[in-house]
């Protein structure tokens, strides 16, 4: 940076100090030694000092023009939910990339999909794959839970504590592939397992259903069905009655989570459930009590799932990211984002 500029562009500069440095002086991008040198230079050149002062006033003026004003009617300080949701989804994705070895891309994809759904703010079916048997599997699952939402299923007395013969665990064990070895523990979210059942599926394939309840009596129903997708994490949100339902699938199973709580609350729970399922499927050891406490990932203030940020470790190789496509959730209210 030792160049200087043509006389016409900077009339007052006699070129004994590089114009670049004068600009850097205006922008406060000089170290203290050079700043002192420039100030000494300007002391004997009032015209030049006035020119730079004018530039500095421009910077201040730009802030006066464009900075959000406090009390502005448009509430500029708070970003619109669609932007906050997209930013949260992007953060989740970046956090995933920074975490060597332990990446759970499918889960993060799910989180991104949820965020996009929140951004879209749309009820009803979204982002279902257009064709193929996987779609059928997911659709029939959701239809099934829709027909039997939180039906009284066989009570399993102190199911979570007994650890005895458990039909859902047996059902899970019978599924092919890396399926979770145990039912998700949602105690950390305040939900206890109340009942579990294996239901005859609509198309002859059994499905497992778990019912949870918290102290306030709010109920959650998680339904699992074989027939996931090896490389898709298609994701849907539906609203029916006063309840909501999130449905998604991983490599081996399709899931549906239904509850009567608010959408963002259910979203938080769905995220935690899918995380538990991923963790459980990743490690064959059954973890009954040793759940990591910090996996809830509740996001305060916004409905955006924000993945906890790990310290960056740039020296390590990038994690092997699952190349499965990002959730194919279209944003209905805007044009589909185009790549460059």
């Amino acid at each position: 940076m030792t160049r200087s500029w043509p006389e016409q562009a900077c009339p007052g500069n006699d070129n004994s100090v590089a114009e670049d440095e004068l600009q850097a002086y205006v922008d406060g991008q000089l170290d203290s030694r050079r700043r002192a040198a420039i100030e000494a230079y300007l002391a004997g050149r009032p015209d030049e000092a006035a020119r730079l002062a004018a530039y500095r006033m421009q910077n201040i003026g730009l802030h006066a023009l464009f900075d959000p004003q406090p009390g502005n009617r448009q509430g500029e300080e708070t970003p619109p939910p669609r932007l906050a949701a997209l930013a949260g989804a992007l953060d989740a994705r970046l956090a995933d990339e920074r975490r060597p070895g332990t990446a759970m891309p499918r889960l993060r994809n799910l989180a991104a999909g949820i965020a996009l759904l929140m951004a879209a703010g749309t009820a009803g079916w979204l982002a279902v794959e257009q064709s193929g048997p996987r779609h059928n599997s997911l659709a029939s699952l959701t239809r099934q839970t829709s027909e039997t939402p939180a039906q009284p299923v066989a009570q399993v007395a102190s199911a979570a504590a007994s650890g005895g013969e458990r039909q859902v665990v047996a059902w899970l064990a019978a599924q092919p592939g890396d399926v979770p070895a145990s039912v998700p523990d949602l105690e950390a979210l305040g939900f206890r397992l109340m009942a579990e059942k294996v239901l005859p599926g609509a198309s002859g394939t059994p499905a497992a259903q778990l019912r949870y309840e918290d102290d306030a009596g709010q109920q959650l129903t998680l339904t699992m069905r074989s027939g996931g997708s090896p490389d898709q994490t298609s994701f849907t949100y539906t609203r029916d009655g006063d309840g909501s339902r999130f449905a998604w699938q991983d490599a081996h199973l399709a899931y549906s989570l239904a509850g009567s709580m608010a959408q963002d609350k259910l979203l938080e729970i769905a995220e935690a459930v899918s995380r538990r399922l991923q963790e459980d499927a990743a490690s064959p050891v059954v973890q009954e009590a040793a759940q990591a406490p910090a996996t809830t990932g509740s996001s305060e203030g916004t409905a955006v799932p924000v993945a906890p940020l790990e310290p960056a470790s740039p020296a390590k190789p990038a994690p092997l990211i699952d190349k499965g496509p990002l959730i194919p959730v279209p944003l209905p209210e805007s044009g589909a984002p185009k790549e460059t």
């Binding site: 464009f66 448009q74 740039p314 496509p325 984002p337």
Partner: protein
Amino acid sequence: MAKTDTTVLEHLPGLRRYARALAGSAADADDLVQECLSRALARRQQSAEIRNLRAYLFTILHNAHIDRLTERKRWNYSVPDEALENLTARPAPQHGLLELHDLAEALERLPEEQRQAVLLVGYEGLAYREAAEVLDVPIGTVMSRLSRGREALRRMMNGAPMANLRKVQ
């Protein structure tokens, strides 16, 4: 140096602020930011490591803006109405109201490339290196645009509009 510990959410206000100054309307600006974030999200499928998240995001925002300029054949930049309304309500203590109106008008007449440099550096406070990355030009080009842009603004505000900077009708 590399701010890998910052988050997109933290940069969101800056992106919106810059987009508003760049695009000339709050609605356009948020569309631009949405486009930027959508592109970034789609791009993460194959992208390499990000060294500087802010520069990365601003680059995508900038490209989205350029694409938009290309789409619209005619483009007249104007300072957002809200900005001028805000001024009437509460002028900045360092400036007179007239002076700020002059600045807004001068900014509207500035060539797009110079305006980008002035806004990125002078308003948003990017380091020259970052601005060069965002604009995808050598750092010397950033310095040149910045220097010429500032001088043009100063002359216009001094009541000496340069003939070649007059709005072409």
